[in-house]
């Protein structure tokens, strides 16, 4: 089944870095995933998180408030 990945953030540099890392990991490993970038504050706050970027995998918050390393993302998406 396709993995649902969401990156929450209002469009800042760290959020963009996170999206790029996730995209790279998905592409390099041929992972069946949908990547969605959530920038709307109301939508972000449905997850009740104040520190962005946030990485959500299958509706579960995995990382918040920092840019994950590529290795971390690989581990999360295995």
């Amino acid at each position: 089944m396709s993995i649902s990945i969401k990156i929450l953030g209002t469009g800042c540099a760290k959020c963009k870095q996170t999206t790029a890392i996730v995209q790279e990991v998905v592409n390099e490993n041929n992972i069946d995933a949908t990547i969605e970038k959530i920038e709307d504050i109301m939508e972000i706050m449905q997850y009740n998180v104040l520190s962005t970027p946030v990485l959500v995998v299958n509706e579960e918050i995995k990382i918040k408030g920092r840019v994950p390393s590529k290795k971390e993302v690989e581990e999360l998406l295995k």
Partner: protein, 125 residues
Amino acid sequence: MNLAKQICPTTTMGKIENGALIVDVRKATEVANVAFDVPNFINIRIDEMEERFTEIPNDKEIVMVCLSGERSLKTTYFLMNNGYENVFNMDGGIIKWVSKGFPTKGSVDELLNTGSCDCSQSNCC
């Protein structure tokens, strides 16, 4: 989820006169440069909000503020998610407050040259 209630500086001033608490979520250094000169005021920066939000009373009107209104909007939703009903976001932040001539402490010169986006100073950037 309900939409956050957004208010302008003039409405905020009216609420302050009726005893509302202003919660400024900017960093202490930003507050030291220029602050709201209002009677009921506390500073809890956004990255401390999850640990400190219980310091905010939920039996009075609360107006969340920051530089431009973006960080405070997030914290408005955060308080709503935690059961606060009388919480408002002041749209436009202290930049709009100053432009309307409402009272501040400190130097507003630098503030008036700041753009409306406070992303670079927020916790996310």
